[in-house]
Assembly symmetry: C2
Homo-oligomer: 341 residues x 2
């Protein structure tokens, strides 16, 4: 059946505490908020009263007057997106949470459903726009996503994970240097002596995927090579399909760069089925360095500093919330070498 006594008696308020400590509401409020202008004796008395009464401030009352909720949202466009980029998103989520530790700010994960409330004016837009949160981190934003515009129009502080498209709303953002990262992957393959190199790129409507493709192409071009391209959607199965297509187009393929570890995993599976040895026949490099360490063989991958991304995202958003300016940040990647390339 269920929980214990059905709700304790009325929760203590500032008033109750004040009466108990023999001071005014204002003074209790000062103690609770750590104001320095309270004498030590009074402070102690108030703290004792708070302890005895088990007083906890009412967040609704507080934010009614402060116009602050001490809550920020991480907004993920839709469940499918959420699942597909799984490892990256969960990691980012965890890291953002960690970056918030020690502060009073609470993180709320908002997943856009696909129900009727989906479009502009939907439940989630209303939520994010109507004062429930002080600001938002927008994640996994595709080009046609209206959310950045909505947030900007509503005057709600927001930052982006990943750079916005050139024609998009100019929100502050944190990105990793995808061009350089992908280029280092391409150069690594070239350095290994590979010459027939292909890439499994990400969705064409995401800037991160575009940049990785750009970097890859630049890396090959520098070596006087051209590469095959096949697109996936960051999932394992799309990587599997893309790798088969690539193999069909170029049976003598000897190097492969996948724009996500998930896709690299799918490619590994396709290669194994096709009887190719990795790295013997085909050297494979992934991206994210989030899912490949336990692969077979362990995946060489471009690591993104997700912890730093999270910290910068939080820092930028905090700045915007306080009305300070926030400059975009671009973080470097590192190539982590393992057995696959």
């Amino acid at each position: 059946m269920a929980a214990g006594t059905n709700e304790a008696i009325a929760a203590p308020t500032l008033e109750t505490v004040a009466a108990r400590a023999g001071v005014s509401r204002a003074t209790v409020s000062r103690v609770v908020n750590g104001s320095p202008k309270v004498s030590p004796q009074v402070r102690e008395a108030v703290q004792a009263a708070i302890g005895e009464l088990g007083y906890v401030p009412n967040p609704a009352a507080r934010s009614l007057v402060t116009r602050r909720t001490d809550t920020i949202a991480m907004v993920v466009p839709e469940p499918d997106d959420f699942l597909f980029a799984d490892a990256y998103l969960t990691t980012l989520l965890t890291e953002v949470n960690r970056a918030l530790e020690g502060s009073e700010t609470q993180l709320v994960l908002v997943i856009q459903g696909r129900g009727p409330g989906r479009g502009a004016g939907g439940r989630m837009h209303r939520y994010v726009t109507s004062g429930h949160v002080d600001g938002a981190i927008l994640v996994s934003v595709h080009r046609d996503n209206p959310l950045p515009r909505i947030m900007a129009d509503a005057g709600v502080p927001a930052v982006l994970d990943g750079r916005p498209p050139a024609d998009g709303v100019a929100l502050p953002f944190v990105d990793v240097d995808n061009v350089a990262g992908a280029q280092s992957a391409a150069e690594h393959l070239v350095g290994l002596g590979r010459r027939r190199i292909a890439t499994i790129a990400g969705p064409a409507d995401m800037t991160g995927a575009q940049d990785r493709l750009t970097g890859f192409a630049a890396g090959l071009r520098a070596a006087g090579l051209a590469g095959l391209v096949e697109h996936g959607d960051y999932t394992e199965s799309s990587g599997f399909r893309a790798a088969r297509a690539l193999l069909a187009a170029e049976p003598r393929l000897d190097g492969l760069f996948a724009a996500s570890d998930q896709m690299a995993l799918g490619a590994l599976r396709a290669l194994r089925q096709a009887g190719r040895e990795v790295p013997g026949d085909v050297a494979v490099v992934g991206y994210d360095d989030l899912a490949g360490a336990a692969a077979d063989p362990p995946l060489t991958s471009v690591r993104q500093p997700v912890d730093l991304v999270a910290q910068e995202l939080v820092r930028l958003l905090a700045a915007r919330i306080d009305g300070r300016p926030a400059e975009p940040v671009v973080l470097p990647t590192t190539l982590v070498r393992r057995a696959s390339a």
Copy 2:
């Protein structure tokens, strides 16, 4: 550099709308909350005013008086847990979100950090306990987790994903029939003619893992067999290690049941490295049916109805929040057969 005009002018309030529509605050409130006792003409006028002004109710003010926040929390104990059971937790999260679609209730994901605010009275306990949310779904609860007790003591409605230990707080819960699920896995292996069967069990301090072990043992016993047991923590790598240990203890192993797909994946890797064919030499069954469909070979697994679990969790919690009783729910599993067993 950032968002557009720095915040629109003061947001419209009930007062503003009332003035514009030529009615009182109370009437606007009635319209906003869909009260039936408003004449059609007035309702229309008010709705027009709301539209023109772009009025959005202030949630803090509202919940200050209603004592409701229309927000529930899903509480995940710690980042490591979150990561380890990855697929299950993300799926559950998505499904709970989906179950909430159409309602006005918003889901907040709360991850317990490991900082100083960790213990009782920590940031997260305060958050969940102090009126930020109407209730909470507790997930991945280990035996020594104080949270169920804290919630019960604070009188905050809460429900559990997975049955609580016998000596734990009697919160309403939703569980799957882990005993029957594991038993069906064992029976399947037996039915395949396997006789040297082992299991990789989950953490001993989680009831779900216990139940799976119980069911597995029961299934073997019914066939007059005994099985080897090795414990893991639901991660891929723990499955890898456990499978090696099992292989060392019983080289002629011909059947293996892992209490999670992740661990089954690790086992697959260990078996391949040991030169065993799956399912030829060793038949493998996983649990969750969340990560094995694209494995090599595709994993036979015990499927949990995560969507139903989510729906029931939401239903039970809603009942508790409304002060209605909530009976525990136990849902059935199904064995999904693929190539691995």
